[in-house]
């Protein structure tokens, strides 16, 4: 055992793909870039690769930091590194920015080769399945035929599940955390409110705001605020902010009074300055569309019959966005198919965002699972 430590300074890389990608929506990406990072070393037999799939606002920057920006630490740095649960001394870990993203991979902000202008609203709809197909092409380039594990939280978990259905022979293990086999009506409802906030922002210009030199920050801000409420639990909000008043008493105006208002506005402002509105729209739709059981009459066990991977499924008791019930659906569908599956339901107060925290029981489960994994 060594003391868990950072992987250190990391450098993103870009891979260009000249062959067209046919998308589930019927759209076509004639060519595209994927930006990615890797941590650790691929072994000689290329059997120790782990792909980490990101969620709505995540990127390829999963662990470590940038030499010229040491404060920019990867979003899952507490999990990945030497001596950490996903130990980079054993595994070769890959993070990829998904297509349609806004962190370097081809997305709505990129130039459409056909027009020489930003794709904007013309960027085709991309799905979880499309992301997986693109990730698989990147794996081909990296010489990885079969992953030791595909890991993801939330929307990342959907990609991990989809991997095991699209490329069953290429996945030894799936680790699906705080995930779901499909969004509920309530989930879609929240996404729709977020989208409407963006779509109705006068600065949105039908998605072609790049040409207008505007950014729909107000819409994006609202979208993030509502999203953020769903990532946290009632209890964690109560504990963090309660009814605390900034001025100690009501001021009878619409400025920031309650601390929760301050927090939400801060989160919304920060997000709207860095994230792309079209990416947000596309990504929430990818979430909505994901439903591997749809083609099987809604019968999830039939859908998961294709998967041959071993599964670790983890949920959090206070996650009401992707509640434990959704994870259990995955577990029982795998059980129906007599697959190897383990399931942990972590008692953690932080809601959906628990999957990003380093609760010792949660990380203990992951550490054991990764430690035991054969490479």
């Amino acid at each position: 055992m060594i003391r868990p430590q950072s992987i250190g300074a990391v450098t993103p890389q870009t891979e260009h793909f000249g062959e067209a990608l046919n998308l589930r929506s019927g759209g076509v990406l004639p060519e595209y870039d994927l930006v990615y990072e890797t941590y650790g070393a691929l072994n000689a037999s290329a059997t120790n690769a782990v792909l980490v799939c990101h969620a709505l606002s995540g990127t390829h920057h999963v662990a470590g930091y940038y030499e010229d920006d040491p404060g920019n630490v990867g979003w899952w740095d507490n999990l990945i590194g030497p001596g950490k649960p996903l130990d980079t001394r054993k595994f070769f870990v890959i993070g990829v920015n998904n297509l349609g993203g806004c962190a370097g991979s081809t997305g709505p902000r990129s130039l459409n080769p056909a027009t020489g202008k930003h794709w904007g609203a013309d960027f085709p709809f991309v799905t979880v399945e499309d992301w997986v197909t693109a990730q698989a092409r990147l794996a081909d380039r990296l010489g990885i035929h079969r992953f030791a594990a595909i890991v993801g939280g939330s929307l990342g978990g959907m990609q991990a599940i989809s991997w095991s259905l699209q490329y069953p022979e290429r996945v030894a293990n799936v680790v699906a955390i705080a995930s779901t086999p499909r969004l509920s009506a309530q989930n879609i409802a929240f996404n729709e409110v977020a989208r409407q906030a963006i779509l109705s922002d006068p600065d949105f210009h039908g998605g072609h705001y790049y040409e207008h030199g505007t950014i729909p920050t107000r819409g994006l801000r609202l979208a993030r605020m509502i999203g953020h409420i769903t990532y946290l639990s009632d209890d964690s909000l109560a504990e963090k902010f309660g009814r605390n008043l900034r001025h100690g008493r009501p001021m009878y105006n619409f400025d920031i009074e309650f601390e929760i208002e301050s927090y939400l506005r801060y989160q919304g402002d920060k997000f709207s300055q860095q994230f792309d509105a079209n990416t947000y729209l596309l990504t929430t739709k990818a979430l909505d569309y994901f439903d591997p059981a749809f083609e099987h009459g809604g019968h999830l066990p039939a859908a998961l019959a294709r998967s041959t991977a071993d599964f670790l499924v983890v949920s959090f008791t206070t996650d009401w966005r992707f509640a434990p019930e959704r994870s259990r659906e995955i577990v029982y569908a795998l059980l129906h198919n007599q697959r190897n599956v383990s399931y942990a339901e972590i008692d953690c107060a932080a809601g959906h965002d628990s999957f990003l925290l380093d609760d010792p029981r949660y990380h203990g489960v992951l550490r054991s699972y990764f430690d035991r994994m054969k490479v």
Binding site: V331, Y332, L335, N340, V341, Y343, R361
Partner: protein
Amino acid sequence: MSYRYDFDVIAQWIAPGEKVLDLACGDGSLLKHLMAVRQVQGYGVENNVDNVVACIDNGINVIQVDLEKGLAGFEDGFFDHVIMSLSLQAIHNTQGILAEMLRVGREAVVSFPNFGFWRHRQSILNGRMPVSESLPHQWFNTPNVRFFTIADFDALCEINGIAIRERLAFDEGKLVIEEPNFLASVAVYRLGR
């Protein structure tokens, strides 16, 4: 990893390659044993996350479920055997869990400490709650919530229409034939409908 003599008793009731569910499976020792000697497709159920981790360390499939809430989600008749080894006395909903075991399994295997064991009776006669190898806790820190004897359990099965297909009783790992409710500290049952 712990090994207990009742593992061998249970293993003899399991056919090779069966689907087995072990409730309150602890660190997965029994399933590991059954995988080794009977090549079962095994799943454990635990509600203690430390035990979930221990099962994963042991390479055992484990599903975190609160047994007090039953086995909703597990399909009818899916398992050949559903086992609960030395844990029935720690569950409030005794009748509920027995019904659930026989719903999801073709047969159930249950073992429990016999509170009617003579040493336990002697202890009560002496005015103190029993503490023994099979009941190792003090009254104030025991995880056990149901206190029953072999005779009590036989009566419960009768009331609930549960068929006792086989019953073996032991003291210190040795089979007890005569007067098991008095002379045995642990009983292992094979149950059906």
